[in-house]
């Protein structure tokens, strides 16, 4: 193969590509609640650089386009219950988010979504929802305690309510169909107490608070409230979560489908039974830490073999990301490929790879990882 080349600047065009549905992580039919109808591949494949805030519209426009003007206008039009004034959108903002590698668009949900508590994780969810098109800034509101967070969220274009314990919960509940609980577990009790009087049968409550069981949520809310429990993980912050969700006692198929659609916009989403949540904690909850250790150790090995640190680190991290992606994208029909099958494919007789593998096996790495998952799961059980 050979090429005649005109090199395009790397950042000047989107990397939107014609990717068939099977390449979209987390959007495969999974469990009883996989919505077949909510997904369609994005048709737009070439796009101009877009303003950061426009990402939240789920639209892609050029920097000087109508979207930004419209957004600035809508910010000025929005009422906010906080005393923070929304800053007009700055068109000189130059740090554009990199275009998403997997472009997808979901059918938008009609529901208004309210976040009680929206820290890093909550904000990552909001961005993911807007980017994927499953929701939009106009449909999302938040009630947060700190002035800085109120301002930051307001700048994104959301409607912002004040402290949940000082009336914010009531206002948010009156203006949302889906309520996300994004406060830290230790504050949940007081929040639920403030929220309870304002919950209607039409509400769906989705909790992302770690370790808080469905039964506890249901006990703290009016009888019959439809509740979902979701456990995302840290890479949610970059839209690469591995999330598991539990369907509450009164939640419907529709509720489960909506939860699946929302969480799929930030990564993989699978439904599980509540008794499996400790195991999920041990695996995907704590798992990123095991991977950080592995990447660091691979980089150390490469440095030991002579590579400079920065290249060793980049090669190590990219190798891990690429190998994990092969699990999801190696098969023709979109099913996942067993890691052992892939490993056999790359370990040629008396080659470099099988030598490396022999070291890992001799050191009992597999056992160590199994023990790690178990140790975390056991601790999760103790804490619960």
């Amino acid at each position: 193969m050979a090429v005649n080349l005109t090199v395009h600047g790397v950042r000047s065009v989107c990397s939107g590509i014609a990717v068939p549905q099977r390449h979209h992580v987390g959007l495969r039919g999974d469990g009883p609640y996989a919505p077949k109808k909510l997904l369609r591949s994005s048709a737009s494949k070439r796009c101009a650089p877009f303003h950061k805030t426009c990402l939240l519209q789920g639209q892609r426009r050029s920097t000087k386009g109508p979207c930004c003007a419209g957004l600035a206008q809508s910010i000025q039009n929005k009422r906010t219950y906080s005393s923070a004034q929304a800053d007009p959108v700055s068109e000189s903002e130059t740090d554009e988010d990199p275009p998403p590698k997997q472009s997808l668009s979901l059918s938008p949900l009609p529901d208004r979504i309210g976040f009680i508590g929206a820290g890093q994780m909550g904000e990552a969810l909001i961005r993911g929802f807007c980017k994927s098109g499953v929701s939009s800034v106009e449909q999302i509101s938040a009630s947060v305690r700190s002035f800085d967070r109120q301002r930051a969220l307001s700048n994104l274009g959301l409607r912002v309510y004040g402290n949940a314990l000082e009336g914010g919960a009531a206002d948010l509940a009156a203006n949302s169909e889906i309520i996300f609980l994004g406060v830290k577990p230790q504050y949940l009790d007081t929040i639920l107490e403030a929220l309870k009087p304002h919950i209607l049968p039409s509400h769906l409550v989705i909790s992302i608070a770690a370790g808080i069981r469905v039964a506890s949520l249901e006990a703290a809310l009016p009888e019959g409230t439809r509740v979902m429990r979701v456990m995302p993980n840290t890479p949610c912050l970059i839209g690469q979560a591995a999330s598991a969700y539990v369907v509450g006692t009164h939640a419907t198929d529709d509720d489960a489908q909506k939860t699946y659609a929302l969480m799929s916009s930030v990564g993989l989403a699978l439904s599980v039974e509540e008794r499996m949540m400790d195991a999920v904690t041990g695996l995907s909850g704590s798992g990123p830490a095991y991977v950080f250790i592995m990447v660091e150790a691979l980089a150390d090995g490469a440095v030991a073999a002579g590579l400079p640190r920065d290249k060793a680190m980049a090669l190590a991290a990219q190798t891990v990301a690429g190998a994990a992606r092969m699990i999801f994208e190696s098969s023709e029909d979109g099913s996942i490929t067993h890691p052992a099958v892939l490993k056999d494919k790359v370990a040629s007789p008396a080659g470099t790879t099988i030598n490396g593998i022999a070291e890992l096996e001799t050191s009992g790495v597999r056992g160590a990882l199994i023990r790690a998952v178990r140790a975390s799961a056991k601790r999760s059980e103790e804490l619960g």
């Binding site: 005109t6 840290t234 499996m276 999920v280 995907s284 092969m326 096996e361």
Partner: protein
Amino acid sequence: MAEALAQGFISKQKVEAKDIWATDISEQRRKLFADFGANATDSNGEVVKNTDIVFISVKPQYVSLVIKQFKQHLKDRHLIVSIAAGIPLNVLQEAAGKEARVVRVMPNTPVFVGEVASAIALGEKATKEDSELVSALFNAVGYCAPVPENLINAVTGVSGSGPAYVFIMIEALADGGVKAGLPRDVSQKLAAQTVLGAAKMVLETGKHPGQLKDMVTSPAGTTIHAVHALEKAGVRAAFINAVLTAADRSEQLARL
């Protein structure tokens, strides 16, 4: 691998299909390239005459032969890029001629899913622009690090063989999940996505993995308990040893 690279370069808009020429002894392979818009021919000479950058993606034992075959068509403008494992620059140079611009790239298997981790080493006559051009192509489908040729073995140890270590890790994590009560399919998917997401965090936040690990280990929590288990088992040393052993083996093979 050539197909994966071609598709990747096209989809990231680094080159258009019509500017790609390809040849293969198999008609089926030529048809495949023609089907996505490239120019397929059965003549190496045709490919070289019509292009500026020539990728050699034949099996290592044929590299020298193939280059010698089309050598007569090489002009000043040509850059030869070999992706054949274990074929050193001096072999490429000897086959192409003293003045030829040659580079060698060591890609890895995830090139098939557009997430390559690769390194490039330059021949004597290759220029800085050549390095930047080829790096840009490979960076569009993952990552490419320029290195001196004597470090290609180290690269083999970490990114060449690395995917296998990751497959083992994912399988073991999935086993752990199953042991803790998850069904196999759920466990496998969560394991793979966790590994993918965490690796992406290292790449996209630019933070040291040690820092990231600190950020996710809360006091007396579930994660630090698990980390302790990994440290007790000496997992870090196991990975360092794996990289070194594979790098050693790569060096041995190069000397054969």
